[in-house]
């Protein structure tokens, strides 16, 4: 294998597109490893790490677009470049549209006076500068950029506060404004519930259940995961509560947070106590009593948060009972061979993996992971699972040089066949997340691997039990009902939520262990 390089000076390709281009490059036959991007210092560092840095690339500046790969021949590389170019070409929409592109936020806002929100997704170190420009132009902001220093986050939120504008994020994965699904949100029906939260997947999950139950959301405001840290002070959560309380379309408020800084908890709880609208709060790190003393309804987890919201409008949402989960588990255990003992979770995000591990532990004991709940459960190698294990494929070790698994499911793909090849694997637990910018068929993408996994296992006298959940709505382009049906048709046990999927997976392992020990 030799290194082949294509450099185009003066061609700019945005970061997400270059990441997708890298994915396409690596999928080509005859390409051992490849990487595409603008020739910045960070890009050159990664190329040096993976052995693709050449003198020509070193000599290029950040205005050059580079495709580099270790490939079998020049012809293989040329063919791969052709595929990359196809992926970078704009989609044919049937009708010709010419969109004006502006050089700056200020120019865009001036040319389009109706513009009222700015979506910022630039590398973290540049986020503050762009958000400042947008706020100064009078635009509310949703900021997807991550790795933004907390001091920068505080500055942008103080400016937003001063101007009375929203600054959702940095690191905001989910927001629904006026019915639009922003960043990685699902498309939801409108309804009386306003949600403000520091967990994107948390907001998306609660909103999806409200949608499924026939109601919906007025607005959802993602604050970004760091908003409730002491350094940031919960500024956007406080603004979000103010706005939802004042919004006539919002009748009920749901608040979601994982961990709240000790100096932030007091002001947030005081604000909830003064809120004139009913509040359901899912604050993972808060004592139940402290939440209830504010007059808010306490929710133990995301499912409970949605169920308690629905009870406010006299609706019910039925989750599987413990007995039903136990029965489903008993049916699945029958197919397991004696050597199969463990659950292997492959997740596309940290919130769901965290939730799943907490649900698994009471049933299966220790759960090893690349991001474990206890330091001693850390996996030495994320590609080598030990006993009961969960891996978050949204972590930086997998997404360095590739988009998040919600956009590019290929990041997680190798896990299915690898885990299924391990004779000790009994259950493979998967999550799927739907969003307009995401993969159009994330379930379809892995069905072939699920089929192959069981063909290989059957040849060795084993059967792998797949358990999965799909987060999304039937208004999403991918349609959650169709995605779930595809899984069922492939023999996968589909649960209504990630939490329930983890409970079922854990129960299968618990019952299997009981059967092995008691010979029942």
């Amino acid at each position: 294998m030799d290194i082949f390089v294509k450099i185009e000076h003066g061609r700019y390709i945005d970061s997400l597109e270059t990441l997708l281009a890298s994915t396409v490059l690596n999928e080509q036959t005859g390409v051992e490893i490849g990487y595409a991007g603008m020739a910045t210092k960070a890009f050159k560092d990664i190329l040096a790490d993976i052995g693709l840095l050449t003198d020509d690339i070193s000599a290029s500046d950040g205005n050059a677009f580079v495709i580099a790969a270790k490939a079998a021949t020049q012809a293989v590389f040329d063919a791969a470049v052709l595929e990359v170019e196809k992926s970078l070409a704009p989609e044919e929409s049937g009708e010709e549209t010419v969109q004006t592109v502006y050089p700056t936020v200020k120019a865009a806002a001036e040319s389009c006076p109706k513009a009222n929100l700015c979506s910022v997704a630039v590398p973290g170190e540049y986020a503050l500068a762009e958000v400042r420009k947008a706020l100064n132009a009078g635009l509310h902001c949703v900021v997807f950029s991550n790795n933004v220093p907390l001091s920068d986050e505080r500055k942008m939120k103080e400016l937003a506060w001063e101007k009375g504008l929203l600054c959702m994020g940095p690191d905001c994965g989910v927001a629904n404004i006026n019915g639009a699904a922003l960043v990685l949100a699902s498309i939801n029906a409108r309804g009386p519930f306003g949600i403000c939260g520091a967990s994107g997947v948390g907001i998306q999950h609660v909103a999806a259940i409200l949608h499924e139950a026939g109601t919906g959301v007025s607005q959802t405001i993602g604050t970004g995961g760091n908003d409730l840290k002491n350094e940031v002070g919960g500024l956007m959560m406080l603004m979000g509560i103010d706005a939802l309380e004042a919004d006539p379309e919002t009748k009920y408020i749901a608040l979601i947070a994982r961990r709240i800084g000790d100096r932030v908890e007091g002001p947030i709880l005081e604000r909830i106590a003064k809120c004139k609208k009913p509040v359901v709060a899912m604050f993972m790190s808060c004592e139940r009593k402290a939440v209830e003393q504010t007059g808010a309804i306490w929710a133990s987890d995301l499912d409970d948060c949605a169920v308690k919201c629905l009870s406010l409008i006299g609706k019910e949402y039925r989750l599987d009972t413990d007995e039903e989960i136990s029965r489903r588990a008993a049916d699945a255990v029958k197919f397991l061979a004696p050597c199969q003992k463990y659950v292997r979770g492959a997740f596309s995000g940290g919130t769901f993996m965290d939730e799943a591990m907490r649900a698994l532990i009471p049933k299966v004991g220790d759960v090893t992971s690349n991001l474990p709940l206890k330091p001693e459960w850390k996996l030495a190698d994320s590609a080598v699972s030990v006993k009961n294990a969960c891996v978050d494929y949204g972590e930086e070790e997998f997404t360095k040089g590739r988009p998040h698994p919600a956009i590019d499911p290929g990041v997680r793909r190798p896990a299915i066949l690898r885990e299924a090849a391990d004779a000790e694997t009994a259950v493979i637990l998967l999550d799927f997340i739907l969003t307009p910018p995401g993969h159009m068929d994330p379930v379809g993408y892995v069905l072939d691997d699920i089929r192959k996994a069981n063909e290989q296992a059957h040849a060795q006298g084993r059967h792998i039990v797949f358990v999965a959940s799909v987060l999304g709505t039937d208004a999403d382009f991918q349609n959650v009902s169709l995605q779930r049906q595809k899984l069922r048709d492939a023999g996968v046990l589909v649960c209504k939520s990630n939490h329930q999927a983890a409970l079922l997976a854990g129960e299968i392992i618990r019952q299997k262990k009981e059967r092995d020990e008691n010979g029942v």
Partner: protein
């Protein structure tokens, strides 16, 4: 805190200025919302020293 501007947003047609990957703007357009694209690239090709000089000179817009 005064919420007038946020309430005005909630009652207006959403028009989004997109700074960064076009994927997000395309996703909004597929939902029927209007977007305006900013062709963002790092100032001074990502050269921090040059950016600081430009900031001092007021050349960063």
């Amino acid at each position: 805190m005064a919420c007038e501007k946020i309430l005005k947003l909630f009652q207006s047609e959403l028009v989004v200025v997109n700074v960064g990957p076009k994927l997000f703007a395309e996703a909004l357009e597929k939902q029927g919302y209007k977007t305006v694209q900013v062709e963002w690239k790092p100032v001074a090709a990502g050269d921090r020293e040059m950016q600081e000089i430009l900031e001092v000179l007021g050349g960063l817009d």
